[in-house]
Symmetry: C2
Subunit: 432 residues, 2 copies
């Protein structure tokens, strides 16, 4: 493989090749930087990148013995995640150029295992709805989705093998689906979120954008401290409940078609794919999640609201005002609904390994002003279950369309294993 | 009341008097500063205090119309809580003099309602076990408890009417009990914790140290956004389950005596006080909490561990090493135990309003090196229930000893109301 293709490799493959002496961290970073140099003017995935800083980290790796399983692996870091050596601007002029005193937990943990922080990826304003400049890698006139816009786009565009994203509604799965990569939101609380600007703390979940499911396994082993084991698909065909959810009507035809096609082909491959109906409390669950989002947002962004209001977008000001006006009793009612749904959801998995559900509305929307509808992944974020989007389909314009797989609470291992089986059976138009 | 006694007032009384034109924010702050000037050399409750900055805030208050119900009320702020206009050093030389770019949510919210941030109160190192310099207001040779050492001591010593504390195990209730003030840890998640250095995010709870239960009501109305209603004791005698917990044996005689005396006198006052046995899963619950604490700590303090290890205390390094060595599976098992206990605990409240339990080990320990045993409040922190310590008793050395009241999940209002009844019946040797 020529050096210039090192940026096509997964994080796992990069780690293996460096460990085997087949390449160097510098060569890998140079390949990523070359790709960024070639494409960034169009893609605008990076909020901050200093090639010399990235190369300095790579040179340090190449000079020292490996400190962990990520030795020499470059990562993209969503720009709401603190980095001691790079600014963290959060997609807002309020924090332009601000350099935090410390690394966020996920940055420090992956650095300690040898990873290279390639740069900071564009986030929407404070991981909300107001978009950044990033374009969709498959069509620069369209949105990459948000809020982890730059992370999904950079991984899709072969600028980095993997990147950190965060999800409070659909902020990992939506851009992953629009950009044709894998998005992973673990069970709430799995990866430590210290050093990440809060959106809504009852919902905020750190996760990953990757092009290879094995990379989730690799990064998880470092982030949570467990031995790295190969990710194997299940030995026999799994049982996958098909849950169209109460929000089925907001899924565009391409998303509905992707779900139906996936269910049908997985059945042909031997899976048991019964239909699963969401419990009644799911009606209005996404409205409850949005209420929680607005309320919690407004509680912890009072400083920016009071001292820097003019620098907040109108879109963000609306969220803040909605939250500030919300009575505590309404917030508690919304929290109770999510708690009830969490309890009720476990019965949906009876006799099943995972659920299959619509992922996002459809293909990436036209223009950059609107980053898409958050509601379909939001349901599962609200109840804290692990979810993966797989880029298994395309829509009427040939753009990526994903499906969503959901696991039981804390049953991420089974979710990942079955996801591997699903991806093997369905294939992907965008991965390799 | 002479001006010099303004520092004896509760936050509620200060707010009322300023609103009525009976005093000014400057006069109140001057009274607090005078007390600090008089006593700080012995008490060492403040990590940072700039009298001119406090007075400037007070003068601004007195010049402007009230912006909220805390107009002119001075508050102490635990020094792991970010303040944009004061350093936040977290009890560690690593962060000495560090000035955060923003106010934490609780600071911004109370400022927006008119409060004055008097100064930063001493925390143990990163709200862990390694003590700060603060002494006990009742005996300077003894510990004030931790980790919210300065907040509890300053409120007890009449330097501030109220102060923010945080609790991951017993860090609000323990120093409150040792210092003879009221400590309140709300239901997990009630007050927004953005801008507060994490200890263990599954447990961290922001709360209050006060000398008057009404102040909890006042501050809560601002922090969560709800109308301020008077705090009334229940109309009829409540039902209070007496739960000695599986950790009864670690309670020193004075704590056991305080609980028995409280139960007996509350029964005489008409309360129904049946004995309540904790479910079997409570055995080992506190060990599970400590495991969660070590594991989560170690995940998010890797930056400090890697780049500033020599500046961490040996005590802290031990916690970090324990956490870093812990396998993810053990952490998940500990989390599952707390989740099981949360479910099982609700049955303990059947037919009851609240529980009465031992608060902390006993009187404040001698010396400053050991800040006391965290285990008794830790049980309830682990299962996220709201808890209040009331300084109702004294021990063999005449030092304060508290009792602990625990409410149902999200049933803080009833807890506060019954706490008022309990305090009326039992009285307090340290509050007025």
């Amino acid at each position: 493989m020529p050096t210039t293709d090192l940026n096509h490799l997964s994080a796992s493959a990069i780690a293996r090749k460096i460990a085997a002496g087949e390449t160097t961290a510098v060569a890998v970073v140079e390949a990523c930087l070359a790709r960024i140099d070639e494409r960034e003017e169009t893609l605008r995935a990076w909020a901050f990148i200093d090639p010399e800083l990235a190369l300095a980290q790579a040179r340090a790796c190449d000079k020292a013995p490996a400190t962990g399983p990520l030795h020499g692996v470059p990562l993209g870091v969503k720009d709401i995640i603190d980095t001691a050596d790079m600014p963290t601007a959060m997609g807002s002029p309020i924090y332009a150029g601000r350099r935090p005193p410390t690394d966020a937990a996920c940055v420090a943990l992956t650095r300690a295992a040898g990873a290279i922080m390639l740069g900071k990826t564009v986030t929407t304003e404070f991981a909300g709805s107001f978009p950044g400049p990033t374009t969709n890698p498959y069509d620069a006139t369209r949105s990459p989705g948000g809020s982890s816009s730059g992370s999904a786009a950079a991984v899709a565009d072969l600028m980095a093998p993997a990147a950190f994203g965060t999800q409070t509604g659909s902020s990992i799965l939506r851009p992953s689906s629009y950009c044709g990569v894998i998005g992973y939101k673990p069970t709430f609380g799995t990866y430590n979120i210290a050093g990440i600007k809060a959106a809504a703390q009852s919902l905020d979940t750190l996760g990953l954008h990757v092009r290879d499911l094995d990379d989730i396994q690799l990064l998880t082993s470092v982030l949570v401290n467990r031995p790295l084991k190969p990710l194997d698909a299940p030995g026999s065909a799994p049982a996958i409940g098909v849950c169209r959810t109460p929000l089925w009507d907001i899924a565009l035809p391409e998303t509905q078609a992707a779900l139906e096609d996936a269910a049908s082909r997985l059945a042909q491959a031997g899976a048991n794919v019964p239909e699963v109906t969401a419990p009644a409390c799911f009606d209005g669950l996404e409205d409850a999640r949005i209420a929680i989002n607005c309320y919690e947002r407004s509680r912890h962004m009072v400083y920016e609201w009071r001292d820097h209001r003019e620098a907040l977008s109108g879109m963000f000001q609306t969220v803040m005002q909605t939250g500030l006006d919300m009575d505590y009793g309404d917030y508690v009612a919304a929290m109770r609904q999510t708690e009830d749904c969490r309890q009720a959801a476990s019965a949906m998995f009876d006799g099943l390994d995972i659920l299959l559900a619509p992922c996002v509305d459809g293909e990436a929307p036209e223009g950059l002003a609107y980053s898409g509808n958050p509601r379909l992944p939001g349901l599962w974020t609200a109840i804290r279950l692990p979810a993966i989007s797989l880029p298994t389909h395309t829509g009427p314009n040939g753009l990526p369309v994903g499906v969503q797989l959901i696991g039981r609470y804390r049953d991420d291992d089974r979710l990942l294993s079955v996801a591997k089986w699903v991806l093997e059976k369905l294939g992907s138009p965008t991965l390799n």
